[in-house]
């Protein structure tokens, strides 16, 4: 690990100003915010992240979870994953988020990891983690070792010839299905970005993963009010029952009318995309139709229509379809 200076931000503007000195807010940033530290310190130990300055933001007043005037929920960037997962409103109205958080990491990590940090969680691609190998995300222009390499865990949606790294987060898949909005304070003031527009696909610049610019601090996210009677489910499939990243996961929010017809639907996937993956195709195949296993399967087929398997992860195409179908079934039947 390279030497850095640890400074503590007392105010949000102070934090913004400190990080704005960095040439980027993406991979290669010289200044990093640090909160839970679970992801950043791991990568600093591997020399993948090499900031020369860390801005400790744990003292900022951004850890609250509170209801908004319009019936939604505001979750501070510093709210710990464990606290969000156990929050009464989250459990009752946004069950998919609680379930997703509890399906991720370990209890110790969830006690440390924050909402904002999880939003920016880095890929687990083994080549990104290993500085001895080529990786366009870590070192632009050095090539993608994962294409044709060990890619069993990697993405089949949103990939490019430059990068096939999977977004590893569970939280963010749920946020996609919940139409979350990311609130950012930056050098030019505050702005709000729908989570669907927060992430970018790798294309030719995999080092860029989000819309964040130097100085940008995620202060909180907001979740809109869910339609009355909507149900939600997170289903995660992985190599072992606990404490493992997803091979495929599904976040479903569904509302059916009295006749069983689907009148509200959100479908998102994890473990298969280069970003948390919302499937408008699947939603289109479900909206207005009667909930049935045949409808769910058709929607799952639509969701994976553009999938591009690599040498070792072809199994994910069918796995993701079954994951979606099963999760839709669970959500439509959940009380």
């Amino acid at each position: 690990m390279e030497l850095f200076e640890l400074v503590t931000a007392q105010t949000i503007p102070e934090a913004v100003k400190a990080q704005a000195k960095s040439s980027t807010a993406q991979n290669g940033a010289e200044v990093r915010f640090i909160a839970g530290g679970t992801n950043l310190i791991d990568y600093m130990k591997l020399n993948v992240e090499r900031p020369n300055r860390l801005v400790d933001i744990n003292g900022l007043p951004l850890d609250q979870i509170e209801k908004t005037a319009d019936g939604g929920l505001k979750i501070g960037a510093l709210a710990r994953n464990a606290d969000v997962a156990q929050d009464a409103t989250v459990k009752e109205q946004y069950a998919v988020l609680s379930q997703a958080l509890l399906a991720g990491a370990s209890p110790q990590l969830r006690n440390m990891a924050t909402t904002g940090g999880n939003l920016l969680q880095k890929t687990r691609c083994v080549y990104y983690r290993d500085t001895a190998t080529g990786c366009n995300k870590r070192e632009p222009g050095s090539g993608c070792s994962a294409i044709g390499g060990y890619n069993r865990m990697l993405a089949i949606l949103g990939t490019s010839e430059h990068c096939i790294a999977t977004n590893p987060s569970d939280q963010n898949v749920a946020l996609m299905a919940l139409d979350a909005v990311v609130h950012i304070e930056g050098v030019k003031g505050q702005r709000a970005v729908p989570v669907a527009e927060f992430y970018v696909v790798p294309g030719a610049t995999p080092q860029r993963e989000t819309v964040l610019e130097p100085g940008d601090l995620v202060t909180h996210i907001t979740l809109p009010k869910m339609p009355a009677g909507a149900k939600s489910v997170y289903l995660k499939l992985r190599d072992r029952a606990s404490y493992e990243f997803a091979l495929a996961s599904a976040a479903i929010v569904i509302k059916q009318d009295a006749s069983g017809k689907i009148e509200f639907i959100r479908v998102a996937m994890g473990g298969v995309g280069t970003k948390p993956w919302r499937s408008l195709e699947a939603e289109k195949a479900l909206l207005g139709r009667a909930a049935s296993s045949a409808t769910f399967r058709t929607a799952a087929e639509a969701a994976l229509h553009g999938a591009k398997p690599q040498s070792q992860n072809g199994f994910k195409v069918e796995l993701a379809k079954r994951c979606l179908t099963h999760a839709m079934g669970q959500a439509s039947q959940s009380a």
């Binding site: 200076e5 640890l6 130990k45 370990s106 209890p107 110790q108 990590l109 006690n111």
Partner: protein, 191 residues
């Protein structure tokens, strides 16, 4: 291990190129007066006792506990938050001490296995681990016990499967899992 070199006050800081032993002597006699370039003063409250030390900002809480404060009950396994051997409590919550910098943990209450119980005066969870043979080699045990003590206060179900999920962040390569679950359940039933 790469991070071992940054454990103490000054071992990895290059400007003075001092040996670890010398650095530590200076550190103990004149804690702040001769601060080595790049190091920072930190006050940690561990097991109710306050410690003011001069450390490398790269020193994790784990390394600082072990190498600077000589509280070696907390173990280093993977050093990446995957094994749980380094589990301690911060304000009563279990965390991986390898994934936080000591400089970030001032003004909080840190509890290590040394603060839980002592020989002849064990914490009920320590007694239960002895009673149920919850270990073989013992390397993961302090992390398991710290995790278990915090877990008992968290909202988990009553089943063995709930304990297994709740303890999934602590790896035991000897495979003492059934006995660990039995020990944890014994303490939960006492509560």
């Amino acid at each position: 291990m790469g991070a071992a070199g940054v454990a103490t006050a000054a071992t990895a800081v290059t400007p003075l190129a001092v040996s670890a032993a010398i650095a530590e002597t200076q550190e103990r006699t004149v804690p702040q007066a001769q601060a080595i370039t790049g190091t920072m003063p930190v006050t940690l409250k561990v097991n109710g006792q306050s410690h003011s030390v001069q450390i490398d900002p790269r020193a994790t809480l784990l390394d600082t506990l072990r190498e600077t404060l000589h509280l070696t009950g907390t173990k280093k396994g993977c050093d990446h938050g995957q094994c749980g051997a380094c589990t301690v409590h911060i304000n009563g919550r279990r965390v991986n001490s390898c994934l936080t910098f000591a400089g970030m943990q001032q003004n909080v209450e840190i509890t290590t296995i040394e603060g839980l119980g002592q020989p002849g005066h064990l914490h009920p969870m320590q007694e239960a681990f002895v009673e149920h043979d919850g270990f073989q080699c013992g390397y993961c045990t302090s992390g398991q016990i710290m995790s278990a003590v915090a877990m008992v206060k968290e909202p988990w179900g009553t089943l063995d499967s709930d304990v297994k999920e709740a303890m999934s962040g602590n790896i035991c390569r000897c495979g003492a899992y059934p006995n660990i679950v039995a020990a944890v359940q014994a303490v939960r039933r006492m509560a």
